[in-house]
Amino acid sequence: MTNVVRKTDTEEKSMPVLRRKSHFVSFFSDLIRSKTGLAGFFIICLLFVIGIIGFLIVPFNPMDTETAQKLLPPHTEGHLMGTDQLGRDVFSRVILGTRVSLTIGIVTVVLAGVIGTVIGVLAGFFRGWLDMVLMRIVDVQLSFPFILLVLVVNAVLGSGLKNIIISLIIAGWVVFARVVRSEVLAIREKEFIIACVATGVSGWEIMVKHILPNLFTPIIVLASLQVANFIIAEASVSFLGFGVQPPQPAWGNMLNEGKDYIFNAWWMITFPGLAIVITALGINLFGDWLRDELDHDL
């Protein structure tokens, strides 16, 4: 096969490429040109602002119960989104739920990403028995539903913010490990790595200096899309009565409480759900754009 000269390859690649230093600038000018990417970016920015300063702008204390004011429909007595069965302001709780969701999404993705990456790199680089063992673990974890695994682990560990994060990490690292491993295997075979071996670069240096930087793009793309998955997973688990427990406001447990009042308080299930959808939508739009953008660049 070595004789084969692929014309199409060279033609494509001989297209002129912009200077590197303009990448940061071109990144944003590309973002502005993409309507969907930009929309996602704005949603994410907005969520961060709400997550950070949300507690300053809420009109009511989200924990304050006032039974006299319970189950008020939206737009009554200053309750923009109505009140719940204990008379708590739904709007304030949705706002504060943002922080919970974002924290969980980001913390779990970072930790699961780091763990998965380390394991994936080790497995892919050293192969042998280590790879064998790690990949069997991955197979096992992937042999039943992600949500179910989170549920079981969470049920064993007990509920609460910390435990739901741990459960999500335990269930979620495998995706990173698998993707990273297959990327490492692909990069290992690239000629520039073989060229390093031929120069006499040691295995360790090849891994740190040449393989890791080339993993950056796929990991970033995967992580950005996983944030949404983890947020939805947390909401599902909390909705099922595990995960984050009331009275701490989280979109999932608000829906859990709301489902019992579905006959007389539609707002209790509507607004937290909308918050989840908007969040997931924003992250996915941006993540999809990011994937296309980075794919094109290298």
Partner: protein, 329 residues
């Protein structure tokens, strides 16, 4: 001699993510009945784009023929409707591609794929179709025909697949066969077999062939006439002997001179300096001027197309002669 294909002043524009480029900047040439025309050039010179626009196979969501005309058998086909074009493709004009490994569909049998053009363009019955396929497979030098038609592409070697591709292209006996680097991916001994086959078929069917390649040796073997392209323009057009013995354009001269010669082993090769420029960084005027050893002031302006001794050349060096000629006429 009758023209089978007449391309005049063809321009193509591409719209990409980072703006537009123009891979073809006014290309005109003719193909006579029964001749083999070689189109030579390096990557990005537009040789493939030219022929894809003749076939109507440009990716229509990003490419556009912005100017010019393509006449096939005196009928204008530049902006033909897709369903009318389909009647031409595979029956009157057809194409072979560079990569025999990927150009056949992996999940259909050879027989199935070969029957497609027949189903489209003929009214043959099943039995006649099979007979035709087997005859044509024999023509392209495949012996185990009964077996082959039930096999899948991955069971065949590269050379065999290219024979199947040729069979697919000529099964309806087209007037024009376009071959886009059909031997580049093959080994030399297989290349020799395929070139041999093409010569034989051409003689038998009296078709015209356009042969795209970057290998001047293949041109010398096979072609009657040569077109040299550089950055989306034709820089020289000549019959094959004239081209090899007295090239006119400095680029053609450079290409020929840089071929290693038997009697100059180990000596420094003549090399054209620099690189092929990208389509959006072309120098002003003559696009070869930044690499040309003969470049002078006037090369900052677009060079004229001149006729010298029966060959056509786009270069300022011969401009005087053009003037002279015009006076003479």
């Amino acid at each position: 001699m009758k023209n089978i294909l007449d391309v005049s002043n063809l321009e193509v524009k591409f719209q990409t993510r980072r703006g537009g480029v123009q891979p073809l900047r006014g290309v005109s040439f003719r193909v006579h009945e029964g001749e083999t025309l070689g189109i030579v050039g390096e990557s990005g010179c537009g040789k493939s784009v030219t022929l894809l626009s003749v076939m109507g196979l440009l990716p229509n969501d990003m490419a556009e023929i912005s100017k010019g005309k393509v006449l096939f058998e005196d009928q204008e086909i530049t902006h033909l409707k897709e369903h009318e074009r389909r009647k031409l493709r595979g029956s009157k004009m057809s194409m072979i591609f560079q990569e025999p490994m990927t150009s056949l569909n992996p999940v259909f049998t050879i027989g199935d794929q070969l029957s497609q053009p027949l189903r489209k363009h003929t009214k043959l019955g099943k039995k006649e179709m099979k007979k035709r396929i087997i005859d044509m497979l024999k023509l392209v030098g495949i012996s185990r025909t009964e077996e082959i038609i039930h096999q899948y592409p991955h069971q065949l070697s590269g050379g065999m697949r290219q024979r199947v591709m040729i069979c697919l292209a000529i099964i309806c006996e087209p007037q024009l066969l376009i071959a886009d680097e059909p031997t580049t991916a093959l080994d030399v001994t297989i290349q020799a077999q395929i070139l041999d086959l093409l010569k034989k078929i051409k003689q038998k069917n009296n078709m015209s062939i356009i042969f795209i390649t970057h290998d001047l040796g293949v041109v010398a073997e096979l072609c009657d006439r040569v077109i040299v392209m550089y950055t989306g323009q034709i820089v020289e057009e000549a019959d094959v002997r004239t081209f090899f013995n007295s090239p006119k354009h400095p680029y053609s001269k450079g290409l020929l001179a840089s071929m290693p010669k038997e009697d100059e082993r180990k000596q420094k090769l003549y090399a054209i300096k620099g690189n092929v420029p990208g389509l959006n960084e072309l120098p002003l005027g003559c696009s070869f001027s930044n690499r040309c050893p003969m470049a002078f002031d006037r090369c900052k302006m677009s060079p004229p197309v001149v006729k010298v001794d029966g060959q056509i050349c786009r270069c300022w060096l011969y401009a005087e002669q053009k003037v002279g000629e015009q006076h003479g006429e």
